[in-house]
């Protein structure tokens, strides 16, 4: 009897073992690549992005992974904010780590550089920080989905606000200062072109192009202040933006010259909490405090705070959304097969921390908003946030489809 029971138990154990082994080999893990600037100019933004991705992956894995069975394995690579490194790392992620999707990227130059690589190897590519519109406007890749308001959308949001202000205040001329690389150039070009349309009387007096990585802006500041423009529009990136604002403030720049709509993300609000000039009119891409009414955002902020002891920046919000967009694409496709997921996301409506949004079919651009507001202290937070937030919706600010068609035909 004892022998029989032993045989039955052993048989059951073996069967059980096979079943487990069988199911685990069927549900292969999902290899997810992250291509961000852990060091270099973009480090300020990217650390938050990586942390948010890790949090999203933990949450998804706690429920069994994608489709409840494909546990997600993360492969994080540092681009050093250099396109050649980004391409090398992207290839390595694809060929060695066999990733099915690459999230990223900081620096639009990196995003533009790895887009054809992802397309060649049929890997999904979801930029969630870099936002040059050229990532999706020209040389279109069906594998690239953009979950950040692109440079055109941001520029249009600023321009709508600035044109209004110019009319009110009687401004006649302006200058621009923008980081000298893909994003800075494309944002500045879009802003200038749009301002020409909406406020044709405004005259562009001069353009300044500090190189990416500039540490000392004094000569730019004195040159601008000495020529007394009515206002200045800036597109200065990441830590350069911190240095620029810090130094311009020390010159009393913002008290003398209106500087509407420069990128002041939640990162800058936190890092420069003491020094940032109150009353500045800033622009950001995904401020958590604008969407605390969305349960997904409220939960994310709570979880992020609990795990990392700080509030999430725009970059954290968008990278977190990128993971959940991917998850919803996989669920809609019912498979982790990249081509099926890519097709499922085409024109898809997705739930994000910023509410329910959709991808525009022509360029895979998410219909996400841009946010403009006045920097002001708030008793709820240990750093200033935006007050009087104006949310410019994606469909109100993105480039008309016919212009995209025309740009691609060139």
């Amino acid at each position: 009897m004892k022998f029989k029971i032993t045989i039955i138990v052993c048989t059951l154990m073996l069967l059980g073992g096979f079943t487990i082994a069988g199911s685990s080999s069927a549900a292969e893990p999902y290899h997810l690549g992250v291509n961000l600037a852990i060091t270099g100019t973009g480090a300020l933004y990217c650390k938050d992005g990586v942390d948010a991705i890790k949090l999203a992956v933990e949450e998804i894995n706690a429920k069994g992974g994608f489709l409840g069975k494909h546990s997600v394995e993360l492969f994080v690579r540092d681009t050093h904010t250099k396109p050649d490194v980004a391409v090398r790392e992207a290839k390595d992620l694809i060929l060695r780590d066999k990733v099915r999707a690459i999230l990223g990227t900081y620096s639009s130059a990196c995003a533009v550089a790895i887009k054809p690589v992802a397309q060649e190897y049929k890997v999904l590519h979801i930029p969630a920080i870099s936002n040059s519109e050229n990532i999706t406007k020209v040389n279109f890749s069906p594998y690239t989905y953009q979950v950040v308001p692109n440079s055109y959308m941001q520029a249009k949001a600023v321009v709508l606000g600035v044109a209004e202000l110019a009319k009110k205040k009687g401004w006649k001329n302006y200058m621009t200062i923008a980081s000298d690389y893909e994003w800075g150039r494309s944002t500045q070009n879009n802003t200038v072109a749009l301002l020409k349309q909406l406020a044709p009387d405004l005259k562009l007096k001069k353009e300044f192009w500090p190189r990416l990585g500039e540490t000392q802006f004094t000569s730019y500041i004195t040159a601008i202040m000495g020529q007394k423009p009515d206002f200045v529009i800036g597109s200065v990136a990441s830590k350069d933006n911190v240095a620029w604002i810090q130094q311009a403030k020390a010159y009393g720049f913002f008290e003398k010259i209106p500087y509407p709509g420069s990128l002041i993300s939640v990162s800058e609000l936190i890092v420069q909490s003491k020094s940032l000039t109150r009353g500045l009119v800033g622009l950001c891409r995904a401020p958590f405090f604008a969407h605390l009414d969305v349960p997904m955002m409220a939960n994310f902020v709570e979880s992020f705070k609990a795990k990392y002891g700080r509030y999430p920046s725009d970059w954290a919000v968008m990278e977190y959304d990128a993971v959940y967009v991917l998850k919803q694409g996989i669920e809609k496709a019912g498979s982790i097969d990249t081509d099926k997921v890519k097709d499922a996301l085409k024109g898809a409506t997705v739930d994000t921390t910023r509410g329910q949004l959709y991808f525009r079919k022509i360029d895979n651009q998410l219909s996400c908003s841009s946010y403009i507001g006045v920097v002001a202290d708030d008793s709820k937070y240990p750093f200033p946030i935006y007050h009087d937030v104006v949310e410019v919706k994606g469909p109100d600010s993105w480039r008309p489809e016919e212009e995209i068609v025309a740009a691609r035909a060139k």
């Binding site: 202040m225 000495g226 911190v242 240095a243 020390a250």
Partner: protein, 294 residues
């Protein structure tokens, strides 16, 4: 063109030049005396900025926090410089230049990783004390008050180095060692100790420059690479090993940069490299260097 605008631009060029002088003077001193081309100089400058941040962070509640952090950071860097000389640099004095460059470039990578381990990858920001938070007005034009401090530090280093090299016994020995190590050694003066001292002094100035830079913007990895090329340009234009040359070249680079931003903003950096290239072609030993060093 408004004269006050030209003056403001001159001042901003002066502050930029002074910062470049602070970085390049240590580089030039080390090369001039020891014949070592220290590619890691700007990375040590960055380490100085990080140390300044740490000291400031510990003392931020006190008004003197930043002012004490700057010399402390420089002293720590001097100690680090001494150790680096004894452990690494001493072994490559008689090696070829490419080997020296390889060693010092390796130091760039190692120090970069150490910064990541010790301070993390987040940017660090120092809040300036109220005294240097706002502008001062010179002939009606605003000027960042902190840069007055930068200019004063730069002048102090220039005068201090000149006095040290020209007026002190130790300085005379150092200058003698430039021309003949053997003769100095024959007089019973320990050359290794002189070299350790000079290297530590060079890195002290780098640390001081980094600490002075720290409150100007955010401190982050990669800043060193943006600066090292311009520092080399300064040293090349001025002449390797020439203190006066480094000073004049730093001012030229600072002013060329400042005024090209006013008149030709797109070409600011290009102009610096054009000046460097012209000097290299016409006077390969630099404006104040000696032909034997070319």
């Amino acid at each position: 063109m408004d004269a006050s605008l030209v003056f403001a631009q001159f001042l901003s060029g002066l502050s930029r030049g002074m910062m470049l002088f602070l970085i390049a003077s240590g580089l030039s001193l080390i090369f001039g005396v020891m014949n070592i081309l220290n590619f890691a100089h700007a990375t040590l400058w960055l380490v100085g900025a990080y140390f300044c941040y740490t000291f400031w962070f510990l003392m931020q509640d006190y008004g003197f926090g930043l002012w004490l952090s700057i010399p402390l950071a420089a002293l720590v860097l001097a100690a680090i410089g001494w150790v680096i000389e004894v452990v690494l640099i001493r072994r490559v004095y008689n090696r070829e230049l490419p080997e020296q460059l390889l060693l010092t470039y390796a130091m760039v990578l190692i120090l970069g990783d150490l910064i990541k381990i010790i301070w993390g990858v987040e940017d660090k920001l120092i809040d300036r004390p109220p005294l240097v938070e706002g502008p001062v007005f010179i002939f009606g034009m605003p000027f960042d008050s902190y840069f007055i401090f930068v200019i004063l530090v730069g002048l102090a280093v220039a005068v201090g180095l000149w006095w040290f090299l020209q007026k002190t016994r130790y300085g005379h020995i150092v200058r003698a060692a430039v021309f003949s190590r053997e003769m100095v050694s024959a007089l019973g003066i320990p050359i290794p100790r002189i070299y350790s001292g000079v290297f530590a002094l060079g890195i002290f100035i780098a640390g001081l420059a980094g600490a002075v830079q720290a409150p100007i913007g955010s401190i982050t990895l990669g800043m060193d690479m943006a600066v090292v090329i311009q520092a080399f340009c300064v040293v090349v234009i001025g002449g390797f090993g020439s203190l006066l040359g480094t000073f004049v070249a730093a001012m030229i680079v600072g002013e060329v940069y400042a005024f090209s931003i006013l008149f030709w903003p797109q070409g600011a950096l290009v102009l610096i490299f054009i000046v460097t290239a012209i000097v290299l072609i016409i006077r390969p030993w630099g404006l104040f260097g000696t032909p034997t060093r070319a």
